[in-house]
Symmetry: C2
Subunit: 567 residues, 2 copies
C-alpha cells in the first residue's frame, strides 16, 4: 500500500502541496503533529490576489496563525478502565488508543468552524478513545458492547466533514470513541463482468483508482476531499464528486452495503435493481453514522474512458449561462463535468490568475462584450465517437445561447487546479480572513431565486464597518430537473467573535435558501451544523420516521448522537 | 377527458382488441359487467400456434370458459352502517359505494391466480366498499377515520397487480374498503424548464402522454399494463417499463410525492438531489399501500425524442446474446429499449408468427447457422446524431459478439405488438392452458445460473403424465451491473387443482432464483404472493426496520394488511 497523505490537525495542508505531516504508520496516528500553517503569505497568495481581495473586502492582510499544536487543550480521556478493557478484549489492545495524538487527529472535521476551534487551541470535541476494528463482525460486536457500556460511537473515515459530522454533542454526555476504519481499507472482490467492486469503508479514492486501474477500470468519484476522504464517508454523507453529472452521485454508485448496527448486521441492496419493497439501502446512505457503521460497500465501476475533452465557454451573464445549461439538461446533453461560475467568481478567478494566458483571456472577453462574463467549464468522457457527437450537439445549443467557445486551455487549467481550494483556505485563514462554503440545489425554475436570496442574506449578514463579503457561486452538478449551487464566501474575519460571525451568516443563508425552495444540502450532508433545519427539509413526520428507524437499530442512541436528527 | 378502456372482471380484454366492456361513466363502475372471453379459439389463436403448443406441451385444446359474471359469488358488504355513514360524511355519499358492480371491479388484480379465482366464480377478495376521495386532505381524513373505525384500506389504481397486491388477507379480518383514486387523475402543474410534472395518482399513462404531448414532452413509461395501470400504482410497486433501460425505471423518474398516512401527510423528495439525510422517498416507492396512499406525484418528463430506431439482431445462442448485451452494458452503450429472447422464446415467436416475412426470416437464420438463435430487439431514441453515433458504436460491439443484424422490420414488429400478451392470455386460459409469468434480476455474473435454475425448477414442477411446460425467457431491462429476466410459462392446466399446480411451480421457481442470487422481483413488486420470501431478500433486521416505519405511520395496521410485510 503506498503511503497516503495526511490532513493536519488545524487545516488541510501546506498550501499547494500534498506533504504528509502526520506519521501514521501504525494506523492510529501516534506520530509527529507539527503545525504546517505557513505565515509567509507572499509565497502562497500572489500579490495580485492579495490586492484584489483587500480592495473587494476592505480587509487588511494580517498574520493570525493558529496556536501551536502542542498548546491545544485536550481533557483527559473519560473512557472508564472497565470499558477500555472490554474494548481491548474485543479488538486487541493494539487497536484501542487513548493517547493525545490519536484523539487529536479524530477531533472534529474540516469545516471553517472546526478549523477556527482547532486554531484557537480548542479540541473539546475530541473522542475519549480511538478504536480500529478489522472486520464487520468485530464492528458489530463493538457496537453491541458499546450499547451495553453506554459509550458513544462516532465512525471516522477521512475526517473531512465540513458540516460538523464528527462534532455532534451527546445530550447524555457519555464517553465517546472514534471508530477509525483505516484497517478496513482494501478491495475485497472485483466482479468485472458485472462492473462491481467490493471494498472496505476506510479505503480512499486514490487507492481504489490505483487498484482498479490495473484492470483498465475506474470508479470516477472526485470530490474536492478526494485525497483524504474515504468511501464509507462518501456513502454516509451522500457525496457528489466533480464528475457526478456524468458518472453519477456517490449514492447512485452504491449497489449494496453492509451496515453494522447495535442491533445486528444488515445487508442492503440487490444489484442491478429490485422491486421488492421500499428501498432500505437509501436509508443507510446519508445516515451519517447515526444508524451504525458501514463496514463494506459494493460499488459500480466502469472502464476507463478512452477519450476525454475539457473546454471553456463564456456567457454574457450568469442568467445567460444558467439558461444555456438548463437547455443542455433538458435535451439530455449535459457533459460529464460541468461548472458554471457566476460573474463574481469568474471575475475573481480571472483577476487572481497570473500569466499571459489569463491576461489575454481577460482582454479577449472584454473586447467581445463579455465584461461580466459567466465562465463555463465542461468535460466530456467516453468513447471518442460519442464524445465527439455529444460535444457537437451541445456546442450547437450553447451557441444558440450566445456562448463563446474559449477552447481547451481553460478546461485543462480548471482540471489541473481542481483539488487546490482547501489548501488555499489555510493560507487565507492565516491572513485574517473568514473563508467558508455552503451549497444547495434547486430546480431550474427555483435556482435563480435561491441564488439571489442566498447572496442577499450573506451580504447583509457579513457587511459591517464598511467591509463587505466577496460571494462567489457556481453550479457544479447538473440534473434534468435542476442543479446544485455552491457558494464560497470570503470576508474580513471578526477576530473577537469569529465563530459567531459565521454562525449568524450561515443561519441567514440557510433560512433564505430553504424559503426559496433550495435543499438544505446537496452534497455536504447534515451533520451537527444543519440539524436544526432538518425538520424544515423533511417535515415533522419525516423526522419521526427516521427516529423510528434509529430506535429500532440503535435503541440506546449510541450511534453518533447530536448529528443529523434534531433534538 | 377521453373515454378510457376498462379491464374485464375475469381477464384483460378480448384478444387483440381494446374494447371497453365496463361502463364506468360515474367513476365507480356501476355498469354492464358482461363477460368478454371469446370461446372461438380459431379466431384468436392462429392454427399454427395451436399446433405448435399442442406438440410442445402435450396439451389438447379444450373449451374452459369462465363462469358467467353474474354467477360470481360475492358476500354481502361487512362495512357497518355507522362506518359507511362516517365515510359518506367525509367524502359525500356519492363517493361511497357498496354495490356489487363497484366491489367486483376492485376484487384482486390480474395475476393468473386472480383470474383463475374470478373465472371459477370466486370474488372472496372483493372489498366491502369502494370510496373515491378527491384530494390529499380527504384521503388523509379518510385514513385517520378508518384507523379509528377499524376499517382496512386498500388503494386501488388500475387493478393490474400480478402479485396479489390487492388480495392481501387481513389477519384480524376487519371490513375493508378499496380507495379508488380515479377522481385524482389530472395534471396539476407542469414546470417545463425543470422537466417536472405534478399529477394525481389515478392518472394513467395514455392520458399523461396526451397532455404532455401538447408541449412536445413525453414521460415514456410503457409497461405492458400501460393502457390500464395508474401512475400511483407504478410508484407503489416500483414498476419498470419497456423503455426503462433508456428513460429509467419508474422509481428513478419520481422526483417527489405526497403520502397520506393514518398519522398525517408527508411530502417526500427534493429535486434535483439532496444530501439531507437518508432517502425517505425511497421508502414510499414500493410501499404497496402498506404505509398509506400516494396522493400526488412529481415526475420527470423529457422532450419527445426527435428520432427513434428499432431493429433486430440474432445471436447463435442465448449465452452469446447475453455476453453481447453485457458488453454493451459495460461500455455504457445499452439501447433505450432492449429485449433479448432465449432460444425457446425466439423459436416460439418465429414458429407462431405467420406471413411471408416470418417464413423468410426463419429460412435466413437456418442457412446462417442460427437454428437455435437468440433474438435481440434494440430501440434507440433521442437526437438523430446521437442515435446514429450510439447505434454505430453498439453495432460494432454486437458484431464482435458474432451478432447478425436483421434490420428494422423485426424491431418495428415487436413495437407494434408490445401490449398484446395479456390479451392473448385470456384466450389461452379459455383453451385449458396454464399461462403465467415471473421475473427477477441478477448481476451479469449471476444471471446465467439464475436462468438455468429457474427453468429447471419450473420444468420439474410442471412436467407430469408426459406433459411438459414451455418456458420462454427474455431480458427486458439492462443495467451496467446486470439485467432483468422475465419468464413466461405455458403448460397444460391441471383442471382439478389449477391453483395448487401454479403455487407449487411458483414456490420452486422462487426458491431457485433466490438461491442463485436473483432478486425476489424486478418490477412486479411483492404483494401477497411474494411476501413469504421478503425476509430472505432483505433479512430479518430489514423486515424489522420496515415494521418500525409502518408502526409509526400506520399504528393500527389498516393500510393494505397481508401485503408486502410477512406475517
Amino acid at each position: 500500500m503506498p503511503e497516503q497523505p495526511e490532513l493536519t490537525i488545524q487545516g488541510w495542508g501546506p498550501a499547494g502541496s500534498h506533504v504528509a505531516t502526520v506519521d501514521n504508520t501504525d494506523g492510529a496516528g501516534d506520530g509527529d503533529l507539527a503545525p504546517v500553517a505557513d505565515p509567509d503569505l507572499s509565497r502562497a497568495l500572489p500579490k495580485v490576489a492579495r490586492r484584489y481581495l483587500a480592495r473587494e473586502l476592505g480587509w487588511s492582510p494580517r498574520s493570525t496563525p493558529p496556536v501551536p499544536v502542542g498548546e491545544i487543550s485536550l481533557a483527559p480521556s473519560r473512557l472508564p478502565d472497565t470499558a477500555r478493557a472490554a474494548l481491548a478484549a474485543l479488538l486487541g489492545a493494539q487497536n484501542v488508543h487513548t493517547d493525545r495524538a490519536a484523539r487529536l487527529k479524530r477531533a472534529g472535521g474540516k469545516s471553517y468552524l472546526d478549523l477556527l476551534r482547532r486554531r484557537e487551541g480548542d479540541a473539546s470535541d475530541a473522542p475519549d478513545a480511538v478504536v480500529t476494528p478489522g472486520t464487520t463482525e468485530e464492528t458489530a460486536a463493538l457496537l453491541a458492547a458499546c450499547a451495553g457500556l453506554g459509550v458513544v460511537v462516532v465512525p471516522f473515515g477521512g475526517g473531512t466533514s465540513v458540516v460538523g459530522g464528527l462534532a455532534g454533542v451527546d445530550p447524555d454526555d457519555r464517553p465517546s470513541i472514534a471508530v477509525d476504519l483505516s484497517r478496513m481499507a482494501s478491495v475485497q472482490a472485483l466482479d468485472v463482468p458485472s462492473s462491481l467492486v467490493t471494498v472496505g469503508p476506510g479505503m480512499r479514492g486514490p487507492a481504489l483508482e490505483e487498484t482498479l486501474g490495473r484492470d483498465g477500470l475506474t470508479f470516477g468519484h472526485l470530490p474536492q476531499s478526494w485525497e483524504f476522504a474515504t468511501l464509507g464517508g462518501y456513502a454516509a454523507t451522500r457525496s457528489a464528486g466533480q464528475n457526478s453529472t456524468g458518472v453519477g452521485r456517490f449514492d447512485e454508485l452504491v449497489a449494496g452495503l453492509t451496515l453494522a448496527t447495535p442491533s445486528g448486521v444488515i445487508e442492503l441492496g440487490h444489484p442491478p435493481a429490485s422491486a421488492a419493497g421500499p428501498d432500505l439501502l437509501g436509508l443507510a446512505l446519508g445516515s451519517e453514522g447515526t444508524l451504525g457503521v458501514i463496514t463494506e460497500l459494493r460499488l459500480r465501476v466502469r472502464p476507463k474512458p478512452p477519450a476525454s475533452s475539457y473546454e471553456g465557454w463564456s456567457f454574457r451573464s450568469w442568467p445567460a449561462g444558467l439558461a444555456a445549461l438548463q437547455r443542455l439538461a433538458r435535451h439530455d446533453l449535459l457533459p460529464d463535468v460541468v461548472r458554471l461560475s457566476d460573474t463574481d467568481e469568474t471575475r475573481a478567478n480571472l483577476l487572481m490568475a497570473s500569466g499571459p494566458g489569463a491576461r489575454a483571456l481577460r482582454a479577449s472577453l472584454r473586447t467581445r462584450g463579455h465584461r461580466d462574463a459567466s465562465l463555463l467549464v465542461v468535460g466530456w468522457e467516453g468513447l471518442p465517437s460519442l464524445v465527439r457527437a455529444r460535444m457537437r450537439a451541445a456546442a450547437s445549443l450553447l451557441r444558440e445561447g450566445n456562448g463563446i467557445r474559449l477552447g481547451r486551455r481553460v478546461g485543462e487549467s480548471w482540471k489541473k487546479h481542481r483539488f487546490q481550494a482547501p489548501y488555499l483556505r489555510d493560507t487565507l485563514m492565516d491572513a485574517g480572513l473568514l473563508v467558508e462554503t455552503l451549497e444547495t440545489a434547486a430546480t431550474w425554475s427555483a435556482l435563480p431565486t435561491v441564488y439571489d436570496t442566498v447572496r442577499r442574506a450573506l451580504r447583509e449578514s457579513l457587511t459591517r464597518n464598511g467591509k463587505r463579503p466577496l460571494i462567489m457561486s457556481h453550479v457544479s452538478h447538473g440534473y434534468p430537473t435542476g442543479a446544485s449551487l455552491y457558494v464560497t464566501v470570503l470576508a474580513d474575519r471578526d477576530d473577537d467573535l469569529p465563530i459567531q460571525q459565521w454562525l449568524t451568516a450561515k443561519r441567514a443563508a440557510t433560512d433564505a435558501l430553504l424559503a426559496a425552495g433550495g435543499t438544505l444540502t446537496h452534497h455536504h450532508a447534515v451533520g451537527a451544523d444543519h440539524r436544526p433545519w432538518l425538520e424544515r427539509e423533511i417535515g415533522p413526520l419525516g423526522v419521526e420516521v427516521l427516529r423510528a428507524v434509529k430506535e429500532r437499530l440503535d435503541p440506546q442512541g449510541i450511534c453518533n448522537p447530536g448529528v443529523l436528527l434534531p433534538e
